[in-house]
C-alpha cells in the first residue's frame, strides 16, 4: 500500500512514487484519523511527560496516582475540566469569546497534514510543505488575540498583546533557519527533506540553524523562557484568564498541540524524521519528537522568563542576524557544491556556528532597560 514503507534506498531528492495513493479518498480518511489519534495521543503523553519530567527535575515525584505510574492523569484532568461550569464574563464580546478557542485549536492540527510519519506516510505531500507549516502555525495567534481582547480583562489583553508581538518577531528567524535547510535539501516538501537526511541528520550540517530554530520555536509556541503571554507569576494566566471548562481545555490542548507540532517539525527537519536504523520509521519519528519535547521541558525547568523588550531584542539583534549570516554561508556552500555538500562541511558549519555565537555574545548587551516616565 505504501511504497515508501520498505525504506528502500532512494536517490536524492525524489518525488513520490507513481503508485503513491495520495489521491485516493480512503487515503484522506485514514490519515485524518491517524493524525487525530497521533495528535491527541501525543498531547496526552506530552502533558504526562511534562509533568513527570518537570517534577523529577524539581525534586518532586509528579502525578502517580491515576492509573499505572499516573499515566491516566491527563485523561482524569480532561474529564474534570469538561464537567466544569462554563463561565462567560458579563462584559465579554460573546461571539469572539466563543470563537477564539476553536480558531486557536484548528490550525494546530492542520499543520500535521504535511508531516511524514514514515516514507510517504503523510496526508498531503505538498511541494511547499515548509511554507504551509509556517503559514498555518502562526494562524493560531489570531485566536489567542481574539481571546485576549474579547475577555475584557486587563491581564488577558496584556498577554494577547505580548503574544502577537512575539509571534510576529519570531516568524523571521524561523523562516531564515528553515530556508537554509531547504537550500541544502533542495525541496520544500517535508518528506523530501527527510529523505535528504539519509546519511546524516540536518542537525550536524546546520547546527546553528537548529539552535536558532529551537529558540525561536520555543518563543513561537510560547514555551518557557518565552512564555510571556501566560506568565503565571505576572499576569495570572494571560489570555485565558477568563476561560473555564471546555473552552479552557481547548486552549490547553492547543498549547500542547503547538508543542507537538513544533517538536515534530523540528524532529522532521533537523533530526531526520522517520530515518533511523533497526526500529520502525514511525517509531523513530515519535521518539525524536519526544526527544525534542524533552529539550523543551528541560529549558523550561531551568530558565527564568525573559522580559518583553528583551524578547524582541533577542529576536531582532541575535537570532535574526545569525540566521541571515547562516543562510548566506549555506547558499555559498550549495552554490559551490551543487551535487550535494561533502560530509566534512559538518565541521566547517559547526565552527561557523560557534564563532558566530561567540562573536554575537560580545555585541549583545543584557540588563537595564528603564524607561523615563514624564
Amino acid at each position: 500500500m505504501f511504497a515508501g514503507l520498505n525504506n528502500n534506498p532512494v536517490s536524492f531528492p525524489q518525488a513520490m512514487p507513481p503508485d503513491w495513493p495520495g489521491n485516493a479518498w480512503w487515503h484522506w480518511v485514514i490519515f485524518t484519523v491517524i493524525i487525530l489519534v497521533f495528535f491527541l495521543g501525543s498531547v496526552i503523553m506530552f502533558i504526562y511527560m511534562e509533568r513527570r519530567v518537570l517534577a523529577k527535575m524539581q525534586a518532586r515525584i509528579g502525578p502517580n496516582r491515576v492509573g499505572p505510574f499516573g499515566l491516566l492523569q491527563a485523561i482524569a484532568d480532561a474529564v474534570k475540566v469538561l464537567m466544569k461550569e462554563m463561565v462567560t464574563p458579563a462584559n465579554a464580546d460573546k461571539i469572539v469569546y466563543w470563537l477564539a478557542p476553536a480558531i486557536t485549536f484548528a490550525p494546530v492540527v492542520m499543520v500535521l497534514a504535511v508531516v511524514p510519519f514514515a516514507d510517504g506516510a503523510l496526508l498531503a505531500d505538498l511541494n511547499i510543505g515548509i511554507l504551509y507549516v509556517l503559514a498555518i502555525s502562526s494562524l493560531s495567534s489570531i485566536g489567542v488575540f481574539m481571546a485576549g481582547w474579547s475577555s475584557n480583562n486587563k491581564y488577558s489583553l496584556i498577554g494577547a498583546m505580548r503574544m502577537v508581538a512575539a509571534v510576529v518577531s519570531y516568524e523571521m528567524p524561523i523562516v531564515l533557519a528553515l530556508a537554509s535547510v531547504v537550500l541544502i535539501a533542495g525541496s520544500m516538501s517535508l518528506n523530501d527533506i527527510v529523505i535528504a537526511q539519509q546519511s546524516y541528520p540536518m542537525l550536524l550540517m546546520q547546527p546553528l540553524a537548529f539552535l536558532l530554530m529551537f529558540i525561536a520555536g520555543c518563543a513561537e509556541i510560547n514555551r518557557s523562557p518565552f512564555d510571556l503571554m501566560e506568565a503565571d507569576s505576572e499576569i495570572v494566566a494571560g489570555f485565558h484568564t477568563e476561560y473555564t471548562g471546555m473552552k479552557f481545555a481547548l486552549f490547553y490542548l492547543a498549547e500542547y498541540g503547538e508543542a507537538v507540532v513544533m517538536s515534530s517539525v523540528i524532529a522532521t527537519v533537523f533530526l531526520g524524521g522517520w530515518q533511523g536504523p533497526f526500529l520502525w520509521p514511525w517509531l523513530w519519528f515519535i521518539l525524536k519528537t519526544f526527544f525534542v519535547f524533552f529539550l523543551m521541558i528541560w529549558t523550561r525547568t531551568t530558565l527564568p522568563r525573559v522580559r518583553i523588550d528583551q524578547l524582541m531584542s533577542l529576536a531582532w539583534k541575535f537570532l535574526f542576524p545569525l540566521a541571515l549570516i547562516n543562510l548566506i554561508f549555506t547558499g555559498i556552500e550549495v552554490l559551490t557544491y551543487p551535487d550535494g555538500i561533502p560530509w566534512y562541511f559538518i565541521f566547517a558549519n559547526i565552527a561557523i556556528g560557534a564563532i558566530l555565537v561567540l562573536l554575537w555574545s560580545r555585541l549583545y548587551k543584557v540588563g537595564g532597560g528603564r524607561i523615563a516616565v514624564g
Binding site: 523529577k56 518532586r60 528541560w298 531551568t302 530558565l303 555565537v357 561567540l358 554575537w360 555574545s361 549583545y364
Partner: protein, 161 residues
C-alpha cells in the same frame, strides 16, 4: 574559559539534569509516614485526670483563653474538676499551658490528623482528652519523649546513621 552567551544557562541545565537522576526527597503522605518530632505539639491537649488538681493555671496562661475549667470543692478539701474543656478551634498550639502546668497533668497530643464536620465538635471535653485514649507527646515531658520513636530527619535520608 571563554565566555559566551548561554554558558550560565548550560551550567544551570546540568544542575537540573542531575536532579532528574537523583532520588526525590518527597514522601507519599497517606501511605508513607515520617515519624514526627518527639516534642511535636500535636492536634490538641492530652489531660491526665489523676494528676490534675483543678488549679486552672493553664487557663490563666492560655493566650487565647480557650481552656475552660470549672471545679467544686471535693471530699478531701481539694478541687474536683467538673469541666475541663478546650475549644481546639481557637487553640494555637503554643504549648504555654503544658509549660505552665505545675502538676504535669497536661500534655500536647502526639497525633497530627484531626478534623471535624461541625465546629462545635471541636470543643474537647475531659473524656476526649483523657490520657488513656490519646497518645501524649514529649513536649515539656522528657520522660515521655524517651519512650517515643526517634524523629526521621531529611539530613539522614539515604544514609546509614
Amino acid at each position: 574559559m571563554v565566555n559566551f552567551l548561554g554558558k550560565g544557562i548550560l551550567k544551570g541545565m546540568v544542575v537540573t539534569f542531575t536532579n532528574l537522576i537523583r532520588p526525590s526527597p518527597t514522601t507519599q503522605y497517606p501511605e508513607q509516614r515520617l515519624t514526627v518530632s518527639r516534642r511535636i505539639r500535636g492536634t490538641e491537649l492530652v489531660w491526665s485526670k489523676t494528676k490534675c488538681t483543678g488549679c486552672a493555671t493553664c487557663a490563666r496562661t492560655c493566650p487565647q483563653g480557650v481552656i475552660h475549667v470549672v471545679t467544686h470543692k471535693g471530699e478531701n478539701n481539694n478541687y474536683a474538676v467538673d469541666t475541663f474543656e478546650v475549644d481546639s478551634g481557637y487553640c494555637i498550639h503554643c504549648g504555654l499551658c503544658v509549660e505552665a502546668c505545675p502538676y504535669n497533668a497536661l500534655f500536647m497530643g502526639y497525633t497530627f490528623e484531626r478534623s471535624k464536620y461541625r465546629r462545635n465538635s471541636l470543643v474537647m471535653s475531659k473524656d476526649d482528652m483523657a490520657i488513656e485514649h490519646q497518645p501524649a507527646s514529649g513536649y515539656f515531658h522528657p520522660e515521655i519523649a524517651q519512650t517515643l520513636p526517634e524523629q526521621e530527619l531529611l539530613v539522614y535520608r539515604g544514609k546509614k546513621k
